[in-house]
Symmetry: C2
Subunit: 430 residues, 2 copies
Amino acid sequence: MKFDILDKTASLKRPSLDKEELQETVAQVFKDVAQNTDKAVQKYTELFDGIRLTSLQVTTEEIAEAVTKTEADLKQAIDLAYQNIKTFHEAQYTPGTPVVETAEGVSCWQETRPIQKVGIYVPGGSAPLFSTVLMLGIPAQIAGCKEVILCTPPDKNGQINPAILYAAQNVGIEKIFKVGGIQAIAAMTYGTQEIPKVYKIFGPGNQYVTAAKQYALNLGVAIDMPAGPSEVMVVADETAVPAFVASDLLSQAEHGPDSQVVCISNSKEFLSEVIDQINVQLPGLSRQDIARKALENSKFVYIDNPQDTIDKINDYAPEHLILSTADNDFYLKNLCNAGSVFIGNYTPESAGDYASGTNHTLPTNGFAKAYSGVGTDSFVKKISFQKITAEGLKNIGKAIEIMAAKEGLQAHKNAVSLRLEEVNKIEGVK
Amino acid sequence: MKFDILDKTASLKRPSLDKEELQETVAQVFKDVAQNTDKAVQKYTELFDGIRLTSLQVTTEEIAEAVTKTEADLKQAIDLAYQNIKTFHEAQYTPGTPVVETAEGVSCWQETRPIQKVGIYVPGGSAPLFSTVLMLGIPAQIAGCKEVILCTPPDKNGQINPAILYAAQNVGIEKIFKVGGIQAIAAMTYGTQEIPKVYKIFGPGNQYVTAAKQYALNLGVAIDMPAGPSEVMVVADETAVPAFVASDLLSQAEHGPDSQVVCISNSKEFLSEVIDQINVQLPGLSRQDIARKALENSKFVYIDNPQDTIDKINDYAPEHLILSTADNDFYLKNLCNAGSVFIGNYTPESAGDYASGTNHTLPTNGFAKAYSGVGTDSFVKKISFQKITAEGLKNIGKAIEIMAAKEGLQAHKNAVSLRLEEVNKIEGVK
């Protein structure tokens, strides 16, 4: 493939996503599931997944069988990934604040509580994304979510890939349902006889699932984050290895034809070498057709100085950012917007996708400007508490009365005034 | 007013919100602002706020004048609230994780970065909500957001209430725009010549503003949280003071005719006394018409045991929860879902609305099941980082290769294999 090397004025604007056309299908399936619950879910499972299921929940026998079916080396790999992801996500847990006395007698604090009911969606199709089960199940486990359910579409024989079930067992998920697509999101939104309603839905999916999650969000169910095509931005100079950079770009490109791939360098020669390496590696890939499509939208950008480069990074807000330069510290210091960052020659993006310990559910489409990736925080809420003594209310009561009166909220003022009167009365008696 | 005392089977289901009908108006204004920017904003400001403005930004002279115009005691009250809110929100700031070595040579960490551009919406109308300026401006300041803008509708003379400008100055907001309603949210979504585009929009508003924020969310702008009518649940027994409880219920009821007010007690006599006190206090209120409307939907519920009571609390997930019982510790221990909690006889909800230090922007409508209230976290994102040495990649590389291959992502595997080959080659040479 041939690629142009662009200059720093190159637009990295992402193609806009047209979600309108899916809305009608989504609305229809949601309506049907709301009315006909499991019957509707079964109907769409037959329609979209080509299998008629009378019971959607995976049985304990099926799980036990999957565990024996999963190859030993894959189990070991999953177990290693599990440990690393667990270690890092445990470090993310914040128990809230200590008790803070904002004024004498006024104690405020924050406590972390798990979201009680969460739903994890794992896509089916050609690739059984058991890694996503780990990435979502582990923080749910650490957070202490009481009910964690997993929905994933069955294959044509009504089966779930054993590795998905093995990973689910690893993270302690017991309720697994053979349901995918819009109908899975609708079922978790409304609840059916078999599938419980949840408070927050996590997980990747195709455009239908994405549109369904957005629909659920508008119905009041929380979601992990809005989604767009996956993307990587690599910033590399001549200290980087062109073959490694090419392999990272290709690993992003193979995700899907709409994947975004951007490479920035201060050396045109280096960019040319990366392009050469792409052409060397591409023909050997099993998903090269997909990668080729994605590469058609890739950008190779020559920028000769770090300041313009960091401006470009922050403006693009990449989901994945790989830094392989002599200047990494400059970029780390000035980075504002990115999902997850991979530093140095020996840190491929695929490490974070599977086993380094960081989460692979990250903000795409520039959402890194306002959103964090999924982490332990995503599975908890923070509740604030306050406890005020009579003395404390004397310290801040006057201020509340003045502010409430000025905002025209007399009953708000009264709630303080009544209490202050009583406090003064008691003290008068003393 | 007369109120029934219900039993524990009473449904506390909230009335469902119909947002459909507003959608068309919202879509139309957004489209117009996207196309005609400031001209459209000015048009709607004239239409909805009755004032023709050629310039939307509040000048430094107007701010200086507002500071001198604000009464001394109100300034003092705002300053006190500012301090308490600042103290508590500083305690909420988490700098990320330390560097965690998940495996030897595999370093992962998380860093907190401010959202660069945020927009704060403050409603106008009868009550100048300067307290909201503090509640949103202070955590933005602590987070270190680079550009914080404030939009609030002008009065018929094109003015902003001085207390709002004073509070804005206090929290370091310099860009204040005289624009409200849907057009304000649209302007912050798209950006106009005068009003910058932001990445996240915060703040309360009427049903139009709420629908506009939801619309912005679907366009990819983050929002603080979905909104519904404000609400309080009071759980009180005979250790509580009926007049205090009544004053808290009324302070919630005066917010708006759709406010929700629920009182649970293990004593019917106590509930009757609270009702009596409501009838004593209600006639003296300036907003009694609003409060009466809200009270028509209020619920007084007799539940004779703590377990059923805590189940009711967790199921309702109140925005504000006031606990005034001999058993507070039991409820605190078993509480799963609430926005902000007020403990004991001397902790009225209005303390948290203004000056205790906690935030008053909280999840309504049961959203406390999945959402936290606004806090310092709401103004930051967390970026994950990883740095792997050659040794580290040897430790986790095999697992990544196996998992990637099994998920059918060969290029993901290659990115590791190429590097491992190189590492082995170098080591072979040694």
